[in-house]
């Protein structure tokens, strides 16, 4: 993939992401914990491979990577776009496959969901270069990738990760877990009070 334009598109996308990260210290701290992990985004049509690597507290986007990959997501650009756009709740017939460490995907999704990035602008750099202006228009129209869709994509991805893949606990499960923690804390408090009373009684 020694194509200068694709390298340029990757460099520019990386710059946009990292510019957004600069104003988001919490996400940067989270990214630092994922250092050394590699996510491969394999777009089958048009054929582009993007390797996403958190490094320091930034994201690196690479066109080639010789080493192991932790998570691999593959599908055509349209399939990936469709997944983000429509009400798909599982990957069956979506044309998108995910392999490897799903929790990494969940972590990454959680981290980048709040980033203030113009995804449409970023994507157009690849589509504009590779399949020409008209096709880019078509894809951009189909994407409707702007902020409102991005929000629903985030919700759907989050639903998909919690409900379908069961990699993240759902809200009711979390609430139940928090309730149990509260009960346990109260029980411990009560036990502590009782022990204190017994000790006091013994001392007097």
């Amino acid at each position: 993939m020694a194509n200068t334009l694709i390298i340029a598109a990757l460099a520019s996308a990386e710059k946009m992401l990292n510019a957004a990260l600069r104003y988001d210290p919490a996400t940067r701290i989270g990214l630092a914990q994922l250092e050394g992990k590699i996510i491969a985004l394999q777009i089958t049509t048009p054929g582009i491979n993007i390797f996403i690597m958190p490094m320091d507290d930034e994201l690196r986007l690479m066109g080639i990577w010789d080493g192991d990959v932790d998570t691999r997501i593959s599908g055509s650009l349209l399939a990936l776009a469709q997944l983000a756009q429509t009400e798909i709740h599982n990957l069956k017939d979506s044309g998108v496959t995910v392999m490897g460490d799903l929790s990494l995907l969940a972590d990454m999704q959680r981290l980048v969901k709040n980033l203030d990035v113009d995804w449409e602008e970023m994507l157009s750099q690849f589509t504009g270069d590779i399949i020409g202006h008209q096709a880019a228009q078509l894809i951009r129209a189909k994407f409707g990738w702007a902020k409102d869709r991005a929000k629903s994509a985030q919700r759907l991805t989050s639903e998909f990760l919690t409900e379908e893949l069961k990699t993240l606990p759902g809200k009711p499960e979390l609430d139940d877990f928090y309730r149990q923690v509260d009960e346990l804390r109260l029980a411990v408090d009560r036990a502590a009070a009782r022990v204190e009373t017994i000790i006091n009684r013994k001392n007097h």
Partner: protein, 249 residues
């Protein structure tokens, strides 16, 4: 009969022992503004060529990397981040002025601890055999007096399985691009050199030395002869620049 061995310095023939000195003069002259000129000359594209080199290097945490002719430290900066605290990067350059600029820049950018600097000649690398996981030489090989000797020296200090990456100007693949590129190199480039560094001659040398450098296939053959295997090259920007890769068996 004059049996003195000569080599090319741009389009001139000079005695072998003079070339290094004359190349040194060129780089002493341009060192301070080398990066500005690179950006101007290539419209910033040299950053993309270097970016591709980093990706193709396969360098990761813990590796030892030698960046020959590393000059102002563009590649070393990225390598130092990639290899992490347990790795090591050596920025090497034959030219003290370039090395000084590189060292200052890296220090200013907070790179320290896993980087060392060495003023050395690519033909006689002062490192033990089988030392490095990766060696890069970006826009440096064409200035070396004996390129075959330099390639053999690099092969020696690479670990088995280690890779050499040579990023260098090469031969444009299309005739039209070649013509445009010639006009640009011999007319525009020295003019820009005069404006920015007040030194048209040095930039004329750079343009000439690019023309005298072996083309893609010749350099690949030279790497094969030096003992590298799985050699290949990737053309970038229509072949104006090529990245050659070879593995030490």
């Amino acid at each position: 009969m004059n049996d003195k061995k000569t080599t090319h310095f741009g389009f001139q023939e000079v005695p072998v022992e003079e070339k290094a000195e004359r190349v040194a003069e060129v780089f002493h002259s341009v060192a301070a503004k080398y990066d500005v000129m690179n950006d101007l000359m290539s419209a910033g594209v040299h950053r993309l060529w270097k970016r591709f080199t980093i990706e193709a290097s396969g360098v990761r945490a813990g590796h030892k990397v030698l960046d020959i002719a590393g000059g102002t430290g563009d590649l070393s900066y990225q390598f130092a981040k990639l290899v992490g605290a347990n790795g090591q990067v050596i920025l090497a350059d034959i030219n003290a002025s370039m090395l000084g600029v590189g060292r200052d820049r890296l220090t200013d950018r907070g790179i320290a601890g896993n980087i060392n600097f060495a003023q050395c000649d690519a033909q006689f690398l002062p490192f033990p055999d089988n030392t490095f996981d990766c060696i890069t030489i970006a826009f440096g090989l064409r200035n070396v007096t004996d390129k075959d000797m330099a390639l053999r020296s690099m092969q020696r200090v690479l670990k088995p399985g280690g890779r050499l990456l040579v990023l260098e100007f090469s031969k444009p693949q299309s005739e039209i691009l070649s013509k445009i590129y010639d006009t640009y190199s011999f007319k525009v480039l020295p003019f820009m050199g005069k404006l920015v560094t007040n030194d048209a001659e040095s930039y004329r040398y750079l343009a000439e030395s690019i023309r005298m450098h072996p083309d893609q296939q010749t350099l690949k053959d030279m790497m094969d002869n030096a003992g590298f295997v799985r050699t290949e090259f990737h053309n970038m920007t229509g072949g104006i620049v090529a990245l050659h890769k070879g593995i030490k068996p």
